[in-house]
Symmetry: C2
Subunit: 188 residues, 2 copies
C-alpha cells in the first residue's frame, strides 16, 4: 500500500536515561535529503492490557491516579512490562492478576497497538479474557492505589460515550476486545 | 465513583524544554505521605483528529512515516495544535484540510481522549465529519509526506482487525467516531 520511505537515523543522543525511560535526540535524513537534527523520541517499555469479562459478563476496570495527566482515570487493567524481553502474554496475565486480584482461564491476543507513534516507541499488547474470577487479593506496588470496578458491558459503553471513560488505549482496547470476542463467537 | 486522591506536586524541574516538548521531573507527595522525587512527565500540545466520510461513505485515512515508532502508519488525519491556546475545532479542520486536501460542512465534537496518561499530558480532540469533499491540494510542511486513502468503512474495520491499521488513537477514534455518527442517526 505504501510508496513512502522511512527516515534514516544518522545519530542518536540519549539526553535522559534511567530505569523508567530514555529520551533520545535523533539526527535523521529524510528521503528528500533534508536533515532534521533535533527529533526527540521517548523510549519506554511496552505495556500489556486486558479486556476481561466475568461469568456475569461484567467488564473489569481499574480506577487509578495518573500523574502525567494529573487526574484519576478509569481504564482497563494493565501495565508496563517488567523487562524489555518479557513475554507479552505473561505480562498481561501478571498485570491483570496484580491489579485486579482476578484470573481467567485463557488470554486471547487481540492486537498490538502503538500508543503515540510520532513521539514514542510504546505499544499496547492487548488481550481479551472471559470467565474472570477472583484469585486472591491485589498485589500492588507501594505507590499504587487501585479501585477495581465490575460493570455491565452496556454501562461501560455509555461511560465511554459520556466521556467518563476517556483514555484512548482503554477506548480502543474495549471496542477492539469486544469486537474480537463477538467475532470469535464467544460473546453475544 | 472515586475515593482516590491525586498526588500533590511539590516541585517541578524542566529537564528538556524546546518548541516541541518539555520533559519535567516532578517531586510528588502521595496521599499516604510517601515522596517520589523522580516522576518524569512529557508535556506536549494536544492533538486534533478527524474521522471523516465522503458522500460515498468512504473513510479518509492518511499514510505517513512516524519516527517515534520508526514505521509507516495508516491513521485518521490530524495533528498537533498550532499553539497552546488554539481552538480545538479550528485545529481539527485546519489539520484535516492540510493533510487531506478535503473539507467538510460540519465537524462534530465526539470526545477528548487522553493518549498516554501515566506519562504525558497529551489529549486527542476527536471530531467526526460527513460529506467530506476535495477543497484544493494538501498543504504540507517540508518534512511531511502524506498519502491520502479513501476506503469503505467495512474495509477499514477489516484492516483494524488484521492489524494493518493499529495505532491506538486511530482505532479508538474510528470506533468512537462511527458510533457517534450512527447514534446521531447520521450513518446507517
Amino acid at each position: 500500500m505504501t510508496q513512502l520511505t522511512p527516515w534514516e537515523r544518522l545519530q542518536s543522543e540519549p539526553l535522559i536515561s534511567n530505569p523508567y525511560l530514555t529520551l533520545r535526540r535523533d539526527t535523521c535524513r529524510l528521503p528528500d535529503g533534508q536533515i532534521i537534527d533535533d527529533y526527540y523520541v521517548l523510549v519506554e517499555r511496552d505495556v500489556a492490557c486486558v479486556v476481561a469479562l466475568t461469568p456475569a459478563r461484567e467488564l473489569l476496570l481499574v480506577e487509578q491516579y495518573k500523574h502525567g495527566l494529573g487526574r484519576i482515570c478509569l481504564e482497563i487493567p494493565g501495565g508496563v512490562f517488567a523487562s524489555d524481553a518479557a513475554d507479552p502474554l505473561a505480562e498481561a496475565r501478571r498485570e491483570f492478576n496484580e491489579e485486579t486480584g482476578y484470573d481467567a482461564p485463557t488470554f486471547f491476543h487481540v492486537g498490538t497497538l502503538p500508543v503515540s507513534p510520532a513521539r514514542t516507541t510504546i505499544r499496547m499488547h492487548l488481550y481479551a479474557a472471559l470467565d474472570a474470577v477472583p484469585c486472591g487479593t491485589q498485589q500492588l506496588d507501594s505507590t499504587e492505589k487501585i479501585i477495581v470496578h465490575r460493570l455491565p458491558v452496556d454501562t461501560v459503553l455509555d461511560l465511554i460515550r459520556s466521556g467518563a471513560i476517556d483514555v484512548s488505549t482503554t477506548v480502543s482496547g474495549i471496542f477492539l476486545g469486544l469486537d474480537y470476542l463477538r467475532r470469535a463467537g464467544l460473546l453475544s
